[in-house]
Symmetry: C2
Subunit: 568 residues, 2 copies
């Protein structure tokens, strides 16, 4: 992972945001140790305080910045793909008596609003990935060897179990409100009441008491599952890990090697295996083309490792989404196209389907499906306008059709481009089981169910046509695309639509899309990305937090924030 200084768009008094790479590997970790012994992994946070991603702060007390979190995400991925035999993961702190002090405050204080928001989003996504590992039979145990404060405790909250050392001083705490004038906004407030079921008045006490809680109170309120004296610590943590591993349904397999991602940057173009993204800065847009597979699926996908098509697409898309979100904030619209042989793609799609029927038998297919699910969820919470363009030669079917359904709008060509290839087959789109539940959104709905929310008849109708290739007219009638136009009209319409989108307020679009994308039920996950994050973003923008005399900016100066006490 590297960070190069960049110039543009940081807020007035914030240091320039770096260009961020998300590539790393265990040899490059600065902040974590990963130890795997048989079916138990130990993940140890030991932050190098001098290795912050940006200049201007020291990562004291095992506090973190985006760079620390990038390594943690890499660990989550390696545990699932390189170490599939791991059934229990112990997450602990390296320094004596310290687990983690949360996000570094000086880092937050000096960061632009956009940086803070994007950092929190990635942090949240990594925690969701930790929670999802449980579905794959990997249980995460937060072994709090010392105080877990703020984001440190929020990280523990993302684990399946929390044990706290009982040493008379170590606590769990959420000191953001009293010390910083912001929220425990990376899931903390939501998880204490909705996951740990801490009573709301106790959660209120916790979130306003800087020093936090420990001992019997912490257990009684549900803040942790148990406290353990230091003399029995190692033994008890081992016992918990052993019990979790023994209870896992995961069956051992041989891992794949997560070789470095092949990414080539050339001017405004980034090329990955199967994905090419072209940035069009003048029009504040990125054109993204996903290519379908060129050969039929292998009999033994795991033998292809990172080259297995669905895995390779998930990995490239994951990296692209993260890089564009972090490094290309001016490019407000992403336009997705696909190209390739639909029939071949659908063979892969069918192969993935085997994973949901009997997961333990092919851990790799199962994990690849989970990886695609998580990556598609990233799109749902991406603050960019997403468009799909469905043309002749495209292969929007099955899991690639999820890209279209994740978009805010879908434009489909009715017929062919007469002046390009009058003899081409007209574009089609094909729904499969992938669109009907294999890749649920954060709210638990499939993207098809989400699209047809409140229209059960339409959902039933499309379910009867899974596997069928629908041309533009049929797709429009079925409700799968926003509009189907002939070739001259489509070009005009797209130009107008993208010009218009580029002219609108980016903030209003972010808020609009965040609301329209999540119909129906809510979950822990959507509450964190919706309610909690939106309130935190509001607070991040308020002078009481981020103004020159706000609590975030004054932290560490010995002076508390100076507040306008008007309630809003």
């Amino acid at each position: 992972m590297t960070a190069l200084p960049s110039s543009p768009e940081a807020e007035a008094d914030a240091p320039a945001a770096p260009v961020v790479d998300f590539d790393t590997d265990p040899d490059g970790y600065r902040h974590w140790r990963l130890d795997v012994t048989a079916d138990v992994a130990t993940v140890t946070l030991a932050v190098d305080e001098d290795a912050g991603l940006v200049e201007g702060y020291a990562l004291k007390l095992n506090s973190y910045d985006l760079g620390v979190d990038i390594e943690l995400y890499d660990i989550v991925q390696r545990l699932r793909f390189e170490h599939p035999q791991v059934k229990a993961v112990v997450l602990t702190g390296g320094p004596e008596r310290t687990f983690c002090a949360g996000a570094n405050i000086r880092m937050l204080a000096q960061s632009s609003h956009a940086w803070k928001v994007n950092f929190c989003k990635f942090t949240n996504e990594t925690r969701n990935a930790i929670e999802e590992a449980h579905e794959s039979g990997q249980t995460w145990i937060a072994a709090l060897n010392g105080t877990a404060a703020g984001g440190g405790y929020e990280l523990a909250l993302a684990c399946d179990q929390i044990v706290l050392v009982d040493d008379g001083s170590s606590t769990v705490s959420l000191p953001e409100v009293p010390l910083l004038g912001v929220l425990p906004g990376t899931g903390g407030l939501t998880r204490v009441v909705d996951k740990r079921h801490v009573r709301r008045d106790r959660a209120d006490l916790l979130a306003t008491k800087a020093e936090g809680y420990r001992g019997a109170t912490a257990v009684d309120w549900g803040l942790v599952d148990a406290t353990v004296p230091r003399r029995r610590w190692d033994e008890e943590v081992d016992r918990l890990a052993r019990a979790a591993a023994d209870g896992s349904s995961r069956r051992p397999g041989t891992g794949i090697v997560l070789a470095p991602l092949e990414r080539v940057e050339d001017g405004n173009t980034v090329t990955y295996p199967h994905i090419t993204a072209t940035m069009v800065p003048d029009e504040r847009r990125v054109d993204i083309v996903v290519s379908g597979p060129t050969s039929p699926p292998p009999s033994h996908p795991v033998e292809q490792g990172v080259a297995y098509y669905p895995f390779a697409v998930a990995r490239a898309l994951d990296d692209l989404v993260l890089r564009l979100r972090t490094n290309q904030q001016q490019l407000g619209a992403w336009v997705f196209r696909t190209t390739g042989e639909l029939d071949v793609l659908l063979e892969y799609d069918a192969q993935l389907g085997h994973s949901s029927e009997d997961p333990p038998d092919d851990w790799f297919l199962h994990e690849t499906t989970q990886y695609l699910k998580r990556t598609l969820k990233r799109l749902d919470v991406t603050s960019r306008s997403l468009f799909a363009v469905i043309e002749p030669g495209s292969c929007f079917g099955g899991f690639l059709a999820e890209l279209a359904l994740a978009c805010d709008r879908q434009y489909m060509l009715d017929g062919v481009y007469e002046d390009v290839d009058p003899d081409a087959d007209p574009a089609v789109i094909t729904m499969t089981a992938s669109n009907d539940g294999r890749f649920p959104m954060g709210n638990g709905l499939s993207r098809l169910a989400s699209r047809f929310w409140g229209h059960d008849d339409a959902l039933v109708a499309i379910r009867a046509r899974l596997g069928e290739s629908l041309d533009a007219r049929a797709a429009a009638e079925a409700g799968l695309v926003t509009t189907a136009l002939d070739d001259l009209d489509l070009a005009d319409e797209l130009r107008m639509v993208l010009e218009e989108r580029a002219s609108l307020s980016p903030d209003a679009l972010t808020g609009m899309e965040a609301n329209l994308r999540f119909v129906g039920p809510e979950s822990l996950e959507t509450k964190i990305f919706g309610r909690l994050t939106a309130w935190q973003n509001w607070i991040f923008n308020r002078p009481n937090a981020s103004g020159p005399d706000g609590a975030l900016r004054r932290y560490g100066s010995g002076r508390r924030g100076s507040y306008d006490y008007g309630r809003t």
Copy 2:
């Protein structure tokens, strides 16, 4: 309704916010006409553009400000209490070809952030009250005689049915994003997808197309239920109202008179029937005491009208909450106490209970219950820290105990105040059916179910003790109070707790409370107050909307907003 200029705390370039009264009556309406004919009411918006609540804008095109909305809320209340025979309500516009242009933009542009947020909250609550009227057998029909734009269409979305005149030009639209750089934030984005079930890509089109939609598209997409040519307009609207009235289960009763509310202000004290509020500005706090009933419930509650105890409490609390929220933004903590005879109160509580079993037979009990429910919901979305103090002589039982459960924390005296009345009976708290489902929160959960979310055993245990008076120790064991302390400790603890609360960032507290108060499921209502409102508040704080060159501020100047196009 009057508005007097006040001095404090408005943002730098915003006009001083007025002190707002919420009292009004049909004779005083400036903006609405209310016509009742047998079981159908017609509510006509005909805004007096020169009668804005604050100086500085004209309410053109039937646009509204808080004053217009205060009258609408009064209408909703009078229809339910003074005109219980009404089964269908036709909501329409007075001016030719104009329904309503939404919230007045110049008003928004000149208002402080806090004013905008509070105005939107009240607007949202009134729309929820309109939606709740349906549960009482009153169907609201939006008869759009002309264009319904922005908040005008959002108002229509709160009705049960929407018909739009088919005159070749009138549309429904949500132009906030393209014209103002803000959201359709009073429910619009949520209701189009979650209530009207408009497909999300179509909702995206609607919310980015300033001119809106009409005709077959509007019907096909579900934006309206029907379009009607002008020549058949009156006839068709009559027919719809007739059909709704004929289908209502509501049984006629004789209304009560909503005589003016008896409110006496004296320095820092406001006195209502049964409620006294004392403002303590130095400590940024309001002490609120609710007195219990002094005589047993009447055999025929409706004959007491506004004096019927549960109604009188609901009405006083409603007014107090609205006035404090709007006019006393510096007072960040509200401390609730009750005093009175618990036994007598519980007789009223039991009487209210009859309403849920057979609503049509006693419309007044049913409506009073609904009114209490709505008023308690106002507390849930109030951006103030709420505390309950439970002492000897209090009467926290049944619907008054909902006040305690609505609070962020509950402090209970264990024993008596030795130096006040050593012979007093110790404080008790009593749960009844009122706490177990009669007054659901916006998320559909009772406040007891919400308190014990994830702890079914505790919920089952307390359900076995409904009607039982629990002393401090029993209440603490049952989980009903945050802490039970003896008299010296309680006084110290309260002083420290309230001092501490008063020192914290008001923005962080608002965000924290908004998150902790709503565990578990979400509903249309909580999504609007949570996700949608939080995003809108964020956008209201962004320079792209509210800065000197932002879209809100530039609206009407002939220049569009100047945006920083970075996506966040």
